[in-house]
């Protein structure tokens, strides 16, 4: 049933693509560049975040005023703050689109579980970064978020008390909280780049940036939103009173809305289930081509005699499944005799797509159950009939 649902979702996704391709040329379809858009927004966030970091004071007394100082007095401060705020929204929207698109179009198959797992990590940490960013402003919303988080953590069985004091940093809410959160906000943003390295490491030529048109459009959209709806703080936090209502940001603060109807324990269990299921997605469906009902051409084989070590397959393999090693012995054909390198296919990463076969001009790569001679036979047959 799940696979049938997935097939239907794939159909809808592709129909949406076709519709968008009618409007834009297909190499400008923004849905093909969700990952690149997320990276663009992350870069904008880091740059504007550095600016805000220079003026921000992480203490209960000064945090709110320093944010107001950035907004009111620092040249372009209100713009940079707005950029930071709306780029965060764009970042979250882009990675959610990226997540769902790659889920619905089966892009977690075969050796692509590593990008999937690291992507889940990126999604999780981005969510946390968003919440911690809301706390740093230290208005009534921040105060409410802190108390809700502490309450939720404290409600966990057995370890609840420890979690709560770990989060707050002392017995009660103290002046240590904001420096801790500032470090977690900036430090985890750095950590995102380690996760991004993991996200890209098995991928040759990742599409890191969107087309220039979309870069300009996204930056323009952020600036437009900044101008139309400048980012503002709630009233300043007052430790003596607990605010009654939470000003909700539906992208980042959705779990806190859930606290209204769910008990903290149920919410935490739900979060764990969602995250674990997200990590399980690439392993849920059968992976063998036979079980998937697709062609089983076998892992690409290097033909020793013909390989010239030219590295073309190495550059073109989309999954980094081909590595070049020093050649153990010369090849047989004239072009292969002087080779210094030799291509090796890592079977665990090969998805049997045959892109290396198309890349090789020396006929040194073949898919064992779909040989060049098979194709040529089919071509001759087609020309004869």
């Amino acid at each position: 049933m799940y696979s049938r649902l997935l097939a239907r979702l794939l159909g809808w996704t592709l129909r949406l693509d076709v519709a968008i391709n009618r409007v834009y040329p297909e190499d400008f379809n923004p849905l093909y560049y969700t990952g690149g858009l997320a990276n663009l927004f992350l870069t904008v966030l880091v740059l504007s975040g550095i600016f805000l970091f220079l003026y921000y004071v992480p203490s209960f007394n000064d945090a709110y005023t320093s944010v107001q100082f950035i907004t009111a007095t620092v040249p372009y401060g209100v713009i940079i703050r707005g950029i930071h705020r709306y780029a965060a929204d764009g970042f979250m929207i882009a990675i959610l689109l990226h997540f769902f698109r790659n889920w619905f179009t089966d892009r977690f198959r075969f050796s692509r579980d590593e990008p999937w797992i690291s992507g889940m990590m990126l999604l999780l940490f981005s969510g946390f970064l968003g919440v911690s960013g809301y706390v740093l402003v230290w208005d009534t919303r921040s105060q409410l978020l802190v108390s809700m988080t502490a309450h939720t953590l404290g409600a966990m069985p057995v370890i609840g008390g420890y979690l709560e004091s770990m989060f707050i940093g002392s017995a009660g809410v103290s002046n240590l909280l904001l420096p801790r959160l500032l470090y977690l906000h900036a430090g985890l943003a750095t950590f995102l780049y380690i996760m991004l390295w993991w996200h890209y490491v098995r991928i040759r030529h990742p599409k890191v940036w969107p087309p220039a048109v979309w870069t300009l459009f996204s930056l323009g959209l952020i600036l437009l939103l900044t101008g139309l709806l400048p980012a503002v703080s709630q009233p300043t936090a007052r430790p003596e009173s607990t605010p009654g209502t939470l000003a909700v940001d539906w992208l980042f603060l959705l779990p806190y809305v859930g606290l209204k109807v769910l008990s903290p324990l149920v919410l935490a269990a739900l979060a764990v289930v969602i995250v674990v299921y997200g990590l399980y997605i690439p392993y849920q469906l059968p992976e063998t081509p036979a079980a998937m009902g697709i062609r089983d051409s076998g892992v690409a084989q290097v033909i020793d005699a013909n390989c010239t070590g030219c590295e073309l397959c190495y550059y073109d393999c989309p999954y980094n499944a081909i590595v070049m090693t020093p050649s153990p012995h010369p090849g047989v054909t004239k072009a292969a005799q002087a080779r210094k390198l030799f291509a090796i296919v890592l079977e665990s990463r090969c998805v049997e797509c045959g892109i290396c076969v198309g890349a090789c001009p020396f006929e040194a790569l073949e898919l064992p159950r779909l040989l060049e001679s098979d194709i040529q036979q089919k071509v001759v047959q087609a020309c004869r009939s």
Binding site: D17, D27, I355, V357, G358, L370, E372, C383, R384
Partner: protein, 203 residues
Amino acid sequence: MPELTAPRIVGFLCDFAVDASALTAPDGTMREAPNVTLIKVPCSGFVRPTWLEFALRNGAAGAFVCGCPLGDCFNRLGNNLIGDRVTQLRRRFERQKIHPDRIAAIYFGLHDQAGFVASVKAFSEHVAGLPGPVVPAPRTAGGASVARAAGTAGAGGPAGRPAAGQQEITAPEGARPASAGARPAADAAPSQATDGTAGAPGA
């Protein structure tokens, strides 16, 4: 079997691109364009450009590759790569006097059958309108396609042409004995030199 008036066309179709199961007969020919035969491949990037040339040299009038829409390849890069390779092959075809429009890369997603059929039909009609033989006659020694300086071909007019060609062919032949004579001497000199240097440490 009815006589085919449309040109014979071979198409390589990616498994993940347009779903052609409803469009093709069991032998791979398309129902709506029986002159087109589709060959399924695991990814459009799997296609070696030489197979397109192979198809043309074996009687096809045109050959194309169909992949997923650019940017949406299941294997990430296959359609971009085959797009580049077809572009390179078109350039090579221009030098080989094969009309580059005889090959193409087209991109249609899983459910875009209508667009695919329309595009294939348009390609077929375009190929039918192309002039001349698919592949030029093979070169022969002394034929018109012997390399010569640009602009010399039309200099003497149609009547003067064979003589000019003759002259150009005889001239290298006349020069060959001289160069053949000079070659061993030139080869001998370095080998003597190497003998000398090789012998020097021993002596």
